[in-house]
């Protein structure tokens, strides 16, 4: 929402968007490319939108595409409840409501310039991280060495496989992938994502590290980063909460004194010291 129309606007009113493309990624995840019906949509990697299905409800979803790529913006939605189930029924040409982009806690796109960047993703954690990954790759010269670690539970749950393969082929990216419970089709690393951390070639101590995945992953990744002496100021985490109003009022996404929808969803690890409920 631009500043000029923010003033007298109903903060709870979604704006119309159209599904430009939609496809199933696997049993539980659906990919959607959207375009706002009315005007452009500017955002920074890490920001989220409230996706509204008329008459059903709203769900907060972090944007998966990079603002450097034109033609709308992309979301990946896991089917977990009523609203996400309804989102899964949407197809090309369907309308839905969008509020946002929301959240002042974005990926450190400027701060990371000139530094090594390490993405650590667990499962669906790749989805929001992908926004910043592609942002970095589209501005490749601005950043140091780029490392992407992806851990997935099972082979069929892997996301954006073509894109991941393309990243893997690049000379200027170290792409490492692991599967926890592999089958015969998988010929690479086995285990959880933390197993990949010692394999990072670039210097980790001075890198900006972005972490997104299931809650249990944070604990172990942070322990490992601690061993590698990564300063807490250089670690950024996505925190998932039930952002309901998205504008810092309803209270659902509160983590101690912080509203995830306003101050997050990306947080600097050193800022979580005063937020015991965070992890």
């Amino acid at each position: 929402m631009c500043q000029c129309c923010a003033e007298k606007k109903d903060i709870y009113l979604p704006e119309l968007a159209t599904v430009m493309d939609a496809k199933a990624m696997n049993v539980t995840e659906r990919y959607l490319r959207l375009a706002m019906d009315d005007g452009p949509f500017d955002f920074v990697p890490g920001q989220f939108v409230e996706v509204s299905v008329a008459g059903i409800g709203e769900a907060p979803i972090t944007i998966s595409s990079s603002p450097t790529q034109n033609g709308g913006f992309e979301l990946v939605v896991r089917k977990v409840g009523n609203v996400t189930k309804a989102i899964h029924n949407l197809n090309k040409g369907d309308k839905l409501g969008i509020r946002g982009p929301l959240g002042d806690g974005m990926y450190p796109v400027d701060e990371a310039k000139g530094k090594n960047v390490v993405f650590i993703c667990g499962g669906i954690g790749l989805v929001p991280q992908r926004s910043f990954v592609n942002y970095v790759l589209d501005n490749r010269d601005d950043y140091g060495e780029v490392t992407i670690l992806q851990g997935t539970k099972e082979y069929d749950q892997r996301l954006f496989t073509d894109e991941v393969a393309a990243w893997d082929k690049r000379d200027d990216v170290q792409m490492l992938e692991t599967i926890d419970l592999p089958d015969k089709r998988w010929k690479s690393n086995v285990g959880v994502v933390t197993k990949l951390i010692p394999m990072i070639k670039s210097e980790l101590k001075s890198a900006v590290v972005l972490v997104c995945g299931p809650p249990v992953m944070y604990k172990f990744v942070l322990m490992s980063l601690e061993e590698h002496e990564v300063p807490h100021e250089n670690i950024f985490l996505n925190l998932e909460r039930k952002m309901k109003c998205g504008v810092g009022k309803c209270g659902h996404c509160q983590i101690n004194s912080t509203y995830t929808c306003m101050d997050g969803p990306v947080f600097r690890y050193s800022d979580l010291a005063t937020m015991p409920e965070a992890i």
Partner: protein, 351 residues
């Protein structure tokens, strides 16, 4: 006109009700509730001794309201001017707290603002503290000095009505014929009465006096067992947050009507187990004690940090409404004792 004297309330209330809907306090089963005033009828309104048992937020942020109509936007309905008589100092403080949230720059709530602007606030002094009143513990007092359009103070033979806003003062001026002058002796009597009620309040709450700033008490008690212990009898009725005049958490939900879709806003409660649960199944506040702690931390630490004031006015409504016998005064007192007493909470801090 700064202030005026009137011997009976009725002519004053009738004059207010000529211009707008007026809500007045009525005693029902020992508690005050707000009801619509009927000017024509023989309506005897009695001045409420303390705040109503229902919160003032009901007038500004109703239990359930329309938040948006989709896909066509809806302007907030023009709210007719209305007046509420008998609000107390704690109510006025609670509205100032809600203002901070709902009139926050960039994220203004148009529905709240429309009601707030239409509200004519007629406050009155408390005449006898209620059993659960503890505003004095939180720097409050049983009478208001600002935040009202008009304020009514009972004196021996009638009432002093003071104007607090331009609108209030012009009301007094416009109805000058109804009123008499206020001699200094009457003001002295008002002060005497106010002091007396304040003394009663202080005496009644002597056992709940806190020995450190309340923010420090809750923050340093964060790891204390007091929250779990005090929440042991909680039955999760959520009444504490419903009647609280400053609690403002809400739930947004969608409904489908025949020709449009509506987004509704409804009061919610952080004491509810599913309140903070996330899609992945995690819940950062699974235990009742976690939720009681969050409620108190929000009131006395987080809100203060964000907006510069406490989010509790000491009205005691939650104490009256609780089905599970959780008394916020007792929780604070136990934390305070722990902090200043044997030093257990201090030890937690340095752990």
């Amino acid at each position: 006109m700064e202030r005026a004297f009137i011997s009976r309330l009725k002519p004053f209330l009738d004059a207010v009700a000529e211009k707008m809907d007026l809500y007045v306090p009525r005693k029902v089963e020992g508690h005050y509730v707000c009801e619509r005033y009927e000017p024509g009828a023989n309506d005897a309104v009695e001045l409420n001794a303390i705040r109503a048992c229902t919160p003032a937020k009901e007038f500004l942020f109703p239990l359930r309201e329309l938040a948006a109509v989709f896909p066509e936007a809806v302007e907030p309905k023009e709210v007719k001017p209305f007046a509420v008589f008998g609000l107390k100092a704690c109510d006025l403080r609670s509205m100032e707290i809600l203002d901070k949230v709902f009139t926050e720059k960039e994220f203004e709530d148009p529905f709240y603002i429309a009601r707030r602007q239409a509200m004519f606030v007629i406050a009155s002094d408390c005449s006898e503290p209620g059993e659960s009143c503890f505003c004095n513990i939180l720097d409050g007092q049983p009478y208001a000095e600002s935040g009202f359009d008009l304020n009514v103070s009972q004196v021996e033979d009638g009432y002093i009505i003071a104007g607090g806003s331009a609108q209030g003062k012009s009301f007094l001026a416009a109805h000058a014929a109804l009123f008499g002058d206020v001699p200094d002796a009457l003001l002295a009597e008002r002060q005497r009465r106010r002091d007396e009620v304040r003394n009663q309040l202080e005496k009644a709450n002597v056992d709940f006096e806190l020995r450190a700033p309340v923010q420090e008490i809750v923050e340093r008690g964060y790891e204390s067992d007091v929250f779990d212990a005090c929440a042991a009898t909680c039955v999760e009725c959520q009444a504490c947050t419903r009647v609280c005049p400053t609690c403002h958490c809400f739930y947004l939900y969608d409904t489908a009507q025949t020709d449009y879709f509506a987004k509704m806003k409804m009061w919610d409660s952080c004491m509810r187990i599913g309140y903070a649960a996330v899609a992945g199944g995690g819940n950062p506040r699974k235990l009742l004690g976690d939720r009681l702690r969050h409620r108190l931390m929000h009131k006395f630490a987080y809100f203060l940090e964000r907006y510069g004031v406490d989010m509790c006015v000491g009205c005691g409504r939650c104490v009256d409404a609780e089905a599970g016998d959780v008394d916020i005064r007792v929780v604070l007192k136990r934390l305070s004792d722990e902090l200043t007493g044997k030093g257990k909470a201090v030890a937690n801090k340095t752990k």
